[in-house]
């Protein structure tokens, strides 16, 4: 995928995710409600591709406002990934040379890949993740399961152990999937299912939309950086 194409597709997915987020904030309180109205407008402009540099600057400034308003992210990692994708796309437009454009997007590709690997690594070194106990606690103790029925999944030790290892192996293998086009496509499908499951079971709908916003950049990254070496 060409760099310009990857940036554009990424912007469309990101804009869609921000539209959904803004509609959620509009149901909330002030002052985030007013900022959401501005972000909704900016996101729609980004969706159709009008003045992306200025629009992304506006979205970045409003993201910083939210960070200060909530003294950190409102929704943890999904906000962090949103800002990261936005910041990298913004820098890619701002870059004076093709080289710096590639550096900005390369950083995003690295962080996106690393997000899976680091998450898998901290699990595999933890005995409670390896034996399924940690995931059992996620279902049984935390406030994440969306219903009492889903909370009951935590009672099945065997299921929790299997699910833990599926998640760990997928997360650790993700960076290596980039070495081949087929494995990469398979990894993206699994990633989609993984984020869908998190949204379905734990209500993490913002993650489901924001992570794929970076996937087009991974397509570009694979053809630009990985393929010349394999």
């Amino acid at each position: 995928m060409l760099l310009e194409q990857a940036v554009r597709v990424s912007e469309i997915i990101l804009a869609f995710a921000f539209v959904l987020q803004s509609l959620e904030y509009l149901r909330g309180l002030q002052p985030e409600k007013s900022i959401a109205a501005i972000r909704l407008l900016l996101s729609l402009l980004l969706l159709v591709g009008i003045q992306p540099v200025w629009v992304e600057l506006g979205l970045l400034l409003s993201s910083v406002f939210y960070l200060f308003r909530f003294q950190g992210p409102y929704n943890g990692g999904s906000d962090a990934m949103g800002i990261l994708v936005l910041f990298s796309l913004f820098l890619s437009h701002l870059a004076s040379t093709h080289f710096w454009q590639e550096i900005a997007l390369g950083y995003l590709a690295f962080q996106l890949t690393f997000s899976y690997f680091q998450s898998g690594y901290i699990k595999v070194i933890n005995v409670e993740w390896r034996n399924g106990r940690a995931l059992q606690d996620v279902f049984s103790i935390t406030a994440y399961p969306v219903s009492d029925k889903i909370r009951l999944w935590g009672k099945s030790t065997r299921l929790m152990c299997i699910m833990s290892w599926v998640v760990i192996l997928f997360e650790l293998a993700f960076p290596f999937s980039l070495l081949n086009q087929i494995t990469f496509l398979i990894a993206l499908v699994i990633a989609g299912i993984f984020h869908f499951a998190n949204a379905w079971l734990f209500g993490l709908n913002r993650f489901f939309w924001i992570w794929p916003a970076g996937f087009p950049i991974l397509f570009w990254f694979q053809s630009r950086v990985i393929f010349p070496f394999v």
């Binding site: 149901r27 680091q118 009492d148």
Partner: protein, 143 residues
């Protein structure tokens, strides 16, 4: 400023690295400020089951759930020590729930107070411990 912006640009992706105490928010309504709460109710208890239609809708639009996650983040910060902003933020959102009739109040209810329970596991034993109780907030103007 750096402490807030830098983690967004150089994030750590340590999702669920350890499962710590998990917060539950309870509220009580009081007639007068000095009353002792008699009945604590869980704020936004989980439904027994969600239909497929509700689940699909929540993929696109889930404001209440995401606000609850934010409230839980505030509560987790309070586990680490008292932080006025976090305590105020939880109260602010509970009062907003009163204003939009999500929390129903009686005619004689004039104050709202909340407390945070921490659910945790020790070996095979799961238990809950109350870690924080707020000061009562006046409901006037919210209901």
């Amino acid at each position: 400023m750096i402490k807030i912006i830098l983690p967004a640009l150089f994030p750590s992706w340590r999702f669920f690295s350890g499962i710590g105490p998990s917060p539950r928010i309870y509220y009580a309504l009081l007639h007068i400020e000095s009353d002792e709460p008699t009945q604590w109710l869980e704020f936004r208890p989980k439904p027994k089951v969600l239909s497929v239609k509700e689940q699909v809708l929540r993929l696109f639009h889930n404001p209440q759930w995401n606000e609850t996650l934010y409230i839980n983040t505030c509560a987790e910060r309070l586990f680490e020590g008292y932080a006025e902003m976090r305590a105020r933020e939880i109260m602010h959102r509970l009062l907003a729930a009163v204003a939009r009739k999500e929390i129903l109040v009686g005619e004689k209810d004039n104050y709202l107070v909340y407390r945070i329970g921490a659910v945790m596991r020790e070996e095979e034993h799961v238990y809950e411990q109350i870690t924080f109780t707020s000061s009562p907030a006046l409901l006037k103007g919210f209901c």
